[in-house]
Amino acid sequence: MMDYDSQLKVQARLDGELAAQEVPELEARLAEDSEAQALLAELEMTRGALAGFEAGVKLPESPELFWSKIQREIRREIQREIQRGPKPAEASRWASVFAGWQRWLAPVGAVAGVMAAVLVIGRSERAPEVETYLADSGAFTYHDFAARTTLVWLSYPADNELVDSEEPDTLD
């Protein structure tokens, strides 16, 4: 059984991301190791089977710009607070405690509102809205919210789960 690092190297070779000094060693292994060959063939087939896959919930602008807007608004609010000066001394103890919380509530509330908007808008617009994640090294999950479909794709090990075909399993 190939170890996880070796599997990742095979994936990296397929993606053209394997370090140049590691290529000869992997090529030598691929020439001799049938399991490594099977994995490479499997990954190539999987890549071939996926047509036009493009995932992602996209913000209308870059995440950095989005966050910088929130940061600027927080700073502006803090400046306003400083300019107003200290609160009158007669303010009650509970009022000052609440004011202390308000300092945090404003930025956190703003962020929560933005996240809520992204979540709700993300569910209702643009089809297909998908998320993908790797649950383990041999499977990934693709969820299409618009189509209400979850795909769990088993990329490794390769096998024919259909029927006992007369044709030999190519990757066994």
Binding site: T46, E81, A112, G113, A116, L151, V152, L154, D159
Partner: protein, 167 residues
């Protein structure tokens, strides 16, 4: 801090709470009950015809579901169909082919835990909500650059003799 800012952050929290309810409805709303599921074993290929005359083209709605996935196959043939009735808090295991079994546990609130077995070896375990209208598809590569799929969804149909009793 101004009243406007206080109102704005209050609105933010309200929106967040509302979004939370939309995304994750309160537990216990859906009653615990038996789940009636349909499991289809499907072969995805670019061949217009299957070499096995017993393989029928998938129904249009199933074909549409599969075509919405990011795959290149043009034809989908039904190899086998099973109907399962999974009792509340129980589980049912069925063979969808000689090499492939699935086990479905009913966790309540239309949530299932699906286990896939290939050649009787446990290959995958997946837990997810599967309410009516939701489809779960398990898939993988098959020989000659084709694919197999197990399509699982709730059905209104009454469970048949194909179902096995819960464990």
């Amino acid at each position: 801090m101004s009243a406007k800012v206080t109102a704005a952050c209050g609105l933010g929290w309200f929106c967040a709470a509302l979004a939370g309810l939309v995304m994750n409805p309160l537990p216990g709303v859906a009653a615990e009950s038996n789940l009636k599921l349909e499991a289809l074993l499907i072969w995805g290929t670019n061949d217009a015809q299957s070499s096995d005359p017993k393989h029928k083209p998938a129904a249009p709605e199933v074909r549409k579901k599969l075509q919405e996935l990011p795959f290149k196959w043009t034809s989908y043939f039904v190899i086998n169909r099973k109907v399962l009735e999974v009792p509340a808090k129980g589980s049912v295991k069925v063979a969808v082919s000689e090499k492939c079994d699935i086990e479905v546990k009913n966790l309540g609130n239309a949530t299932v835990e699906v286990s896939l077995f290939g050649k009787h070896e446990h290959v995958l375990n997946r837990k997810q909500a599967l309410p009516k209208g939701e489809t779960m598809v398990l898939g993988g590569n098959a020989p000659n650059a084709t694919s197999w799929f197990v399509v699982l969804k709730q059905t209104e149909a009454t469970a048949t003799a194909e179902s096995q009793p819960g464990k």
